[in-house]
């Protein structure tokens, strides 16, 4: 039996195309589903490295999902990603450092884990996380 498909082509593209890049949806290719999306606020202690914060995700019955997160300091209008420091202070030749480093985000079977360093004063950080599966 021929495998049936559902395709939704991009504007100006043919549904007969064999290039998956021509489709906004193609049932032969998985899509990332946002299993969970949420925010977490964290207060980073002053001059403390390796600060971890956890958020239960309630997806114990799934395999560990892909987790993506973005952070923003209170009062600073820039969002930054894991493996990165806040770039507010980044100017020409500012040096490879910043007060706050968003070290990583990861997920285990029960929790999302977010890890920061803070070389400066106590700071509040807002985080938005996505679990994709």
């Amino acid at each position: 039996m021929t495998q049936q498909v559902i395709k939704v082509a991009k504007k100006g593209k043919s549904a007969h195309s064999t290039d998956p890049n021509d489709f906004v949806f193609h049932s032969e290719y998985n899509t990332f589903k946002i299993l969970l999306e949420g925010t977490k606020s964290a207060t980073l202690s002053a001059t403390t490295a390796d600060q971890s914060f956890t958020q239960a995700h309630g997806l114990e019955s799934f395999t560990i999902p892909i987790v993506v997160a973005f952070a923003k300091r209170d009062g600073v209008n820039q969002v930054f990603a894991p493996n990165s420091f806040d770039v507010e202070a980044w100017g020409e030749k500012a040096g490879m450092s910043g007060d706050i480093i968003f070290n990583y985000v990861k997920a285990d079977s029960t929790n999302i884990i977010l890890n920061f360093d803070n070389d400066g004063a106590e700071e509040d950080v807002d985080i938005r996380y996505f679990l994709l599966g």
């Binding site: 495998q3 049936q4 498909v5 559902i6 395709k7 939704v8 082509a9 549904a15 007969h16 906004v24 949806f25 049932s27 032969e28 290719y29 998985n30 899509t31 990332f32 589903k33 946002i34 299993l35 969970l36 999306e37 949420g38 925010t39 977490k40 606020s41 207060t43 958020q55 239960a56 995700h57 309630g58 019955s61 799934f62 395999t63 993506v68 973005f70 923003k72 209008n77 820039q78 969002v79 930054f80 990603a81 894991p82 493996n83 990165s84 420091f85 806040d86 770039v87 507010e88 980044w90 020409e92 030749k93 500012a94 040096g95 490879m96 807002d126 938005r128 996505f130 994709l132 599966g133």
Partner: protein, 354 residues
Amino acid sequence: MATFTKRVIAGSDDGYKLDTTWNGTEVNINLGKGFWSNTIGFRITDVTIPAGSTINSASITLTQRGSWSTNSVVNKIYGIDEDNTLTMTNDPTGRTKTSANLDWDFSATADNATHVSGDITSIVQEIIDRGGWASGNAMGFLILDDGSTQTVGFDAYEGDSNACPLLTIDYTATGSPSSSISPSSSISLSPSISPSASPSPSPSPSLSESPSPSPMSPFFGMRVAKVGKDALKTDNPSDMVFDSDYGTLKYFDKQTLEISFDADTGDITGKATYTHDLGYYPFVEVFTRVYIGSPSGNYEYCPFWGAGISVQYHANYSITTTDITVYGEIDGVSTSVWNFDFLIFIYKNDLKLD
């Protein structure tokens, strides 16, 4: 319908404010007004109610601590209008309150007596309906004095962890059966759609060959199962290539940016900006390759750090509500021209980090 019931589970999750002083570690939390007004604040963590749920009823229960004669108090309950409110270690009374509120007036009875609020459905629903609410978040409440002339005290977590503030919510989760919708409206993957079919706003629910009985709840939405999986027999999103119960990333744009600087002239950093003008912080993915000379190398997930014999290099990016700025930088000894190529994928998913 399901019921969620949970007390405060940490001393840092409740407290009360007397006049201008927040008391977060005492054995009692007080309402009313003696000489000064009292405000109780508390939060319940890990509230496992899915976004989109319908709240059927909800209440707060406080347990009286000590005898307060027949003192009466006049209060107003608010929710804290946040997706995932923080601890009550610091004074929470300045946090944004829900529009919904409820008057709660009662008189003291006896030590250990419980006092149950009226129905706070509208308050809880307002929090659940926030765009950023997710199952597992913390939900907070403030109970403000509203004209009392007397004071009554209640158990805080530090006073009795089995009698501290209790939240009870009856709710119906999204996708649960509803008597107002016919199961016949359920749509799943329809093999009858031709491979050459154009996009249609109304895919035919023609795969209605009476699904075999299954313990699953009726599903109201659209699913496209992976090959070998049956959309009618599984709720597991891992079995679907599409499931309308779950959002997707909304691809918006792909951009490229380049940075180049000559370390021989003292330049060790550069940046470039793309203006997206979406008016909010979008979900972004960035990939970078770094090279000296002709374009070469693989794109790596950005931000990243790398190192050579005498040089460290680093690529990074930041997002604002109008721009995406990429950065490249080296540190060490170099006389070369450094190039950073960036691929930027932008999605119209609002990070809601205002």
